[in-house]
């Protein structure tokens, strides 16, 4: 086998793999969107609990409306992405499985906690699971800020176990900003 031939093959493989790696996966949009929704949701809940007489507290039964709005915006964006993209990166599948797993784990914990009456653990567990998901996906797609912030989310989640619920809401809002929005903005500028 010619040496030139082998060097050429290696070059082709390297270039193609680098090229495929450059493909943006658009995860930053969902990170920023859901981070913002969660931050607003938790902050509004904190405000309602700590200021029950404030005007905004009259709407505390309607904060959940933010989630279907997020779902609709996500679905529209996903459709747009499907229409415009000519290739799908492997990272898309990783994000899909990781966040589906996160949602499933959170919903089961939420229902079990409601059933057994352990409501105080729900928000800390949410922060830990979100941190874990961001940590794992960040590690796979080699986003060091996501790894660090994911770790931060898990630690704050554990710290929150000893807090009253209103402060848990405040901290969860902060975690949403640090774990979702901050890495999302960084990814947006680096076009991951």
């Amino acid at each position: 086998m010619e040496k030139q031939d082998i060097a050429n093959s290696i070059n082709i493989i390297e270039q193609a793999i680098q090229e495929a790696r450059k493909l943006p996966n658009g995860a930053y949009f969902y990170d920023i969107l859901w981070g913002t929704i969660l931050a607003i949701y938790y902050l509004a809940n904190y405000f309602s609990l700590s200021n029950p007489d404030a005007f905004i507290s009259n709407f505390n039964h309607y904060y959940w409306v933010l989630f279907p709005i997020g779902g609709i915006v996500s679905a529209i964006r996903s459709k747009q992405d499907d229409r415009n993209e000519t290739a799908k990166s492997l990272a898309d599948k990783i994000y899909l499985f990781a966040y589906s797993g996160f949602a499933f784990a959170y919903i089961t914990i939420y229902l079990a906690a409601a059933f057994y009456g352990f409501n105080a653990i729900v928000i800390p567990v949410f922060c830990s699971l979100l941190g874990l998901t961001v940590f794992v996906t960040g590690g796979i797609v080699k986003e060091s800020l996501s790894v660090i912030m994911g770790l931060f989310g898990m630690l704050v989640g554990a710290y929150m176990l000893n807090m009253d619920v209103s402060h848990q809401y405040l901290f969860a809002s902060f975690v949403s900003v640090m774990v979702s929005i901050v890495p999302g903005i960084k990814m947006m500028f680096s076009r991951v």
Partner: protein
């Protein structure tokens, strides 16, 4: 004695296609054409050879009103690529 390189993969364009698909879940014909910088006819021909070897699966469909051809690396294709890389490595360690 060195192993022979897979003749299906030991072609510049086919190797480029498979190497691109290794890092992707799937890719459209347009993407492969743009990245490999080749003509549609040549790309079609090489994709057909890769499909016949069972290395790539090709799905034809529609995106809105426009026809779309989507290519995906099969498990057999991935194994063949891994074998190809291993063989190349054995050549390098001469």
């Amino acid at each position: 004695m060195f192993k022979d390189l897979d003749p299906i993969l030991h072609s510049q364009l086919r190797l480029s296609i498979v190497s691109l698909l290794v890092g992707l879940e799937e890719a459209e014909f347009v993407y492969l054409k743009q990245k490999t910088n080749t003509s549609a006819g040549n790309l079609s021909l090489q994709l057909d050879k890769l499909q016949k070897a069972g290395y790539v699966s090709i799905k034809k469909g529609f995106k809105g009103k426009y026809p779309v051809t989507t290519c995906k690396l099969t498990a057999k294709g991935l194994k063949a690529f891994e074998r190809y890389v291993t063989t190349i490595k054995s050549y390098i360690h001469l």
